[in-house]
Symmetry: C2
Subunit: 394 residues, 2 copies
């Protein structure tokens, strides 16, 4: 390939998603229960889709503001303000075509060739993927698994910093591990970043999905917003995907210092050139009228977590602690090759799980299961999984 | 800004669009006739929007294939095949969230820090913008204006190539100049690229909007597809925006060697993570049933071109030749500062034009007018423009 079609090393180095690999392996199996990707089983509620339909019927099909339509920026600021208990300036909000473009833009702002970015792992692989494409070097700091769950050793985090470090990526509550920082841990991480002039790229998209009071502030997970000053170097990447069952819509936002507005507008112009207005109208409907649906999703995930935790507790071969946040069970099978195991589980249990190796250091023997799904499916999946997992290691 | 918020030099260097600057200046003027951006005045036809509405109602709101849904890839290949008179393999087609992400991806594949990419200018500013963000160096080769229109001096193009050159960007028919290569010119450019192992990034999105038989093959503009071998290093960036009045939808595609498929899939994953399925359904409707609408748009643009050309011919201060392709009049006012002039035209004529300086070398004294619009608007715009332009230079 590279002989006939010479391409840039950063592009060639973009890693193939280990999740997609398994999905492609099992995509067409009849009756498979798909717990491999980070989305639930509910389609977008009709009142959200209908807002898009009305916008289309009204002919809102033209180019639009690169920062997002003012009404959506205001709706995001209003909703985030209510969740965080804090006033958010709409000028800090930049609409993006999904959470991923927000991540790409945040990382492109702060790091490139020659720079290092520290990230606790196992982590959502797209952070490392986007860093690789941008030419920056991801530096992984493994979370510590224990019978009580995952924890982040702050001394180890600090030891990973070098003069080339530009940013720390913090995803709390975390995909895939469920690790969730306490308010005090976030304050400590912020202090570390401040002392060295580093950026924090914060992914708090699972903040409403939180199950342990020790990591909560009110009814959500602790946030950097709880501990930061207005001028701290924190970029928040956000999405409507998870709360509102809008994974396929591709709409999210970047929250950043308003002073970076023109630069961010330019980066939007030269990447996606904006998000469809009719999608933005749907996003407004979700934010303004979606709280009942979010509560429904949280209740389902809570029940899903209980079903999965109870079933995994009976399996001696499995290393697992119920996660304090997010909607994944990330369990270990000591000694397993997770890529091989995920395919075997497709074949023998007809259940789709994501191999832990897709999530970087510390994930090689793990499997990720998404429990944002109806109870019947999860109960059936755990019935099918038990005999396969009980026979391990093989 | 950079003191409080240190960001990467490539991000900081992303140029602010000179078009957006003028649009922001005049956006709220009542009664302004907006001819400044590259879109017409027609909303998307209802049969296209309704395909999206049906998809939404059916719950197609989940994550999807990173290369695009197979049905859309097939529809694109089918339609392009019919237009080009040539079989197109769907495996060469990669759906993107608009033409711009296709451009970004194409350039990211072929060029980065330390590389040069040659581009004839005046040109659509987003090529240079995307190159700047990627760290590559755009090298502009000015088109020659003459009473007969713009032409590209191939010797000058060749002289701009250095050992660092990785690609040549060719946009034919061109935005903003209307310059359109003959089949023979495309063959000569391809030979130059072949001899040095360079990529060509070809933007042929205006191929249906062509007005001069000398640059036509059948009813469209000449294409690299007319002269290339299957294994040539040509990347085509494409969009549904112009043909189908879908600028706001953000859907297009990259056509590339199928061998690059996995890399392109990875680049999609780490940038947009795919295009909404309901948008892809609309795109299929457009491609399969939109030919009548495209013909209607072509007829309108042909009439618009005649109206604008006739009016400009009466203005001695204006350097202009009717363009052989695309739907823009790009006319020069020798000695003018186009940014100042575009604002003055907003103030005095209440017409929105794009300043030529936004399009790079050779554009500083020019103005771009989009004539993909209803005749009444264009006639009124030319009536308003005449007194302002007649008094120039000032």
């Amino acid at each position: 390939m590279t002989e006939s079609y010479p391409i840039r090393p950063e592009a060639a180095a973009a890693p193939t998603s280990g999740i997609v690999d398994t999905v492609n392996y099992g995509r067409t199996r009849e009756g498979l229960i798909p717990l491999w990707v980070g989305e639930g089983d509910l389609a977008t509620p009709a009142f959200i889709s209908e807002a898009a339909t009305r916008s289309l019927a009204a002919g809102e099909t033209f180019y639009t503001y690169q920062r997002g339509i003012p009404e959506l920026r205001a709706a995001i600021a209003r909703r985030q303000g209510a969740i965080l208990g804090k006033e958010i300036d709409p000028e800090r909000i930049f609409v993006t075509s999904g959470g991923m473009p927000a991540v790409q833009m945040a990382l492109r702002l702060v790091a490139g060739a020659g720079d290092e970015v520290v990230i606790p792992t196992p982590a959502w692989p797209n952070f490392v993927g986007a860093l690789t494409v941008s030419g920056a070097t991801p530096v992984e700091v493994a979370l510590d698994p224990s019978p009580e769950g995952f924890s982040l050793d702050l001394a180890r985090l600090e030891a990973a910093l070098t003069p080339r470090t530009r940013a720390i990526v913090i995803n709390s509550p975390a995909n895939p591990t469920g690790w969730t920082a306490t308010r005090e841990e976030l304050a400590a991480i912020l202090e570390i970043a401040r002392a060295r002039g580093l950026w924090i790229v914060s992914d708090e998209i699972y903040t409403r999905f939180v199950w342990d009071e020790r990591v909560m502030v009110g009814e959500r997970a602790a946030s950097f917003h709880d501990v930061m000053r207005p001028d701290d170097r924190v970029l928040f990447v956000q999405t409507l995907s998870k709360n509102y069952a809008m994974t396929g819509w591709r709409v999210g936002w970047l929250e950043a210092p308003a002073e970076l507005g023109q630069t961010i507008e330019n980066l939007v112009q030269y990447s996606t050139s904006g998000t469809p207005v009719f999608v933005q109208r749907a996003a407004i409907a979700a934010l303004d009228h979606g709280e009942g649906f979010v509560q429904h999703q949280i209740a389902r995930a809570r029940r899903g977590r209980a079903i999965v935790a109870e079933a995994l507790a009976t399996l001696n071969a499995v290393r697992f602690a119920p996660p304090p946040g997010a909607f994944y069970a990330f369990f270990g099978i000591p000694g397993a090759d997770s890529q091989v195991l995920a395919r075997r589980i497709v074949d023998e249990a007809n259940v789709g799980l994501a191999p832990g190796s897709a999530f970087g250091a510390g994930g090689a023997d793990g499997l990720r299961l998404c429990f944002a799904r109806k109870a019947d499916d999860l109960e059936e999946a755990m019935r099918r999984l038990a005999p396969v997992l009980r026979d391990l290691p093989i």
